[in-house]
Symmetry: C2
Subunit: 403 residues, 2 copies
């Protein structure tokens, strides 16, 4: 291993920070080290940030590769006394308290926070592809998903970016839905259990989901602080007349609202709404906006189930405008330009992002035949972790078969 | 059942909305029904809000008691044409589209959104009791928790409001930690499994938690979008020298920071930080603020684990101020005025709010004796649901025994 490779791999552990651009120089400024790159970019690295990131074995446990050093133990007036780009291309820093640090150019380039570097990183992380009624649903074969990691990864990329996928060729087995889901990770248990079923119930009707009624577009379990991430829905029997599935992309609807009615978008993303679901042994409530934004102000989820909403509890002055916004949003969830309609046949499974892709069921005639589905949930954390681990080894070649 | 009782119970299902104040009058205004109460309060009920809340059997499914009516199906110019408080004390409303609605005074008083009613409700929901180093930890007997619902409820109230509790008299059984936790609800699985253990490992050291090192105050799994809610930690063997537990109330620290350094508080609650944890089979990342605020701007969680933080990725202009804020916060987590220090003995279990109560472990001498703990997690949703269900039936009499 060359010195440069060594520097690159030092804090890399399971991630790699490949060399992309060379350091061309470094100098000490008032409160930071100014780092210059061969492509002309200049990055300020503030003293505490740089000291906090020191990868030496005094600062990072050699076995666990986790930080031992705590930055509040550095003196408040800490500063760099000397910096240099050495012959191996590393940034060398001598600190006022006697500590010395070295940073590889691969790691440094991946973490510096000048405006250009931040925008570049954020753009790379933006993978969502919004869709409309003409969506080609990404479809994958059960056998291939189970046996081939590259097919698995292609499926998971589609689930993450498109938020609606289908698996075909599922075995006729009541539990196989969890077998496929566990190919990703462990499942998210809820009060429905780990595995649950949808079939028309005559007795014990405690949810509209168990009737033959049309269910409007919704997310499952908006009554939880964190709605389940992926929803898996495996069709074992679908002999009833009616009962087609429809889907709309909540992100597309939020985007349309943001463009066409920015005030409505602002109200729905700003004010929290309570969702409630009560039964004999549970009583769940969650308070969250209908349009959820992430730390960067981008839409990260929608939360919708008309029959589980509590009465809006907002400042009175906002109530008429909020209702207008809610009506606008709801009207869009019925707008044909957004709606994808498909019938799920026996042996097929939907896998969709429950926090993004609203689903609905057309009314069906329970007398016309049986309808039996099994489902489970798995959170986004597990999906994304699995994708990152697969990406370490699989050279992803998309093999989606589009229906 | 009298007509008033009938009105009160109509949409009450598992919740009750007891009659507290009588309606004294109602009138139609430009965009709302103005409702007057016997205690002088006046509540505006906007047309859509009132129509949306209609409890009649056309609007709410009689079996599931969930709403069928969708408010976007009401005409955009919907208005009340006639209102009255009837002889039974109900609000009767006749709508411009021909529909008619009736609302019980108990339900109505519990949901109106004039400023006074909203403040009253919010105050009732504020149950958190922040604590300092002189905390008396609420302590409960295993047998009583398992057998007596009122003890169970007292324990859960303490876990919710104080965020740090202890169970004593635990059987010497490796799995009993889950038996107690399941008295509340199902568990939250993570990549550690459903049940996990803490003992010093010699091989396969992939986390500082499995070393004998001192661990600074932290929350578990800040690398997840939603950190686990309750953490259960059952001590089976503690024969090692050292290794005491310490706790600090993250809400107390956040409050101190808000009072003593409001700019630091603003930075820590505004900017998101990435937490990372990587292993051979998982790679978790979460981006969230260190101080999390709920929809009302109140502190709802803290997210802290110094050794799992990724380098801060913030606008360069904010970096020095952010580091100053982070150092201030970190210094407070070591401040004796906040620290509760206890040794967990064999047969005892901690149960604490992992998103609030930071925990730490003093360094210990692994050669001096064995140390073996078993743990599991359960989310806040399940805790709160269980409390609500117990409150339906248990007349709560607090029986906490304070250590």
């Amino acid at each position: 291993m060359s010195a440069v490779e060594k520097a690159q791999s030092f804090v890399a552990d399971w991630r790699s920070f490949p060399f992309t651009v060379a350091l061309s120089g470094a100098s000490v400024a008032a409160d930071h080290v100014s780092v210059a790159w061969a492509d002309g970019r200049v990055s300020p690295c503030h003293f505490f940030w740089l000291r906090d990131s020191c990868p030496c074995t005094e600062c990072v446990h050699a076995g666990t590769r986790e930080q031992i050093f705590e930055v509040q133990d550095a003196p408040a007036d800490l500063h760099a006394t000397w910096v240099e780009v050495d012959a191996d291309g590393q940034l060398q820093v001598q600190w006022s308290d006697g500590h010395a640090s070295a940073y590889g150019p691969g790691w440094l380039r991946a973490h510096v926070y000048d405006d250009a570097s931040r925008l570049e990183r954020q753009a790379a992380q933006r993978t969502v592809r919004p869709w409309l009624q003409d969506l080609q649903i990404a479809s994958f074969e059960y056998d291939a998903v189970m046996k081939d990691d590259s097919v698995l990864l292609a499926w998971l990329h589609a689930a993450r970016d498109q938020g609606l996928t289908r698996i075909v060729g599922m075995p006729d087995d009541e539990d196989v839905v969890s077998t496929v889901a566990r190919r990703i990770s462990f499942l998210r248990e809820t009060n429905f259990g780990v595995l649950w079923e949808v079939r028309t119930k005559v007795e014990e009707v405690n949810s509209n989901a168990y009737t033959a009624l049309e269910l409007p577009h919704h997310t499952d379990l908006p009554t939880r602080e964190q709605q389940p991430g992926l929803q898996f829905l495996h069709c074992l029997i679908n002999d009833a007349t009616g009962g087609d599935s429809t889907f709309v992309d909540g992100f597309s609807i939020a985007r349309a609202l943001r463009e066409e009615a920015p005030e409505a978008f602002a109200l729905l993303s700003q004010y929290a709404v309570e969702f409630r679901n009560k039964a004999s042994t549970s009583d769940y409530r969650a308070l969250a906006p209908i349009i959820g934004l992430d730390a960067r102000g981008e839409v990260s989820e929608v939360r919708v189930a008309n029959w589980l909403r509590a009465p809006f509890d907002l400042p009175a002055a906002q109530m008429p405008a909020y209702y207008a916004a809610y009506r606008q949003f709801s009207v869009l969830t019925r707008d044909p330009r957004f709606i994808v309609r498909r019938r799920l046949e026996a042996g097929q499974m939907w896998c969709f992002d429950n926090r993004r892709t609203l689903h609905a069921r057309q009314a069906f005639d329970p007398a016309s035949g049986l309808r039996f589905l099994r489902g489970c949930y798995l959170d986004r954390d597990e999906l994304l972790s699995r994708i990152r681990v697969l990406e370490r080894t699989v050279c992803a070649s998309p093999v989606a078969r589009f229906a």
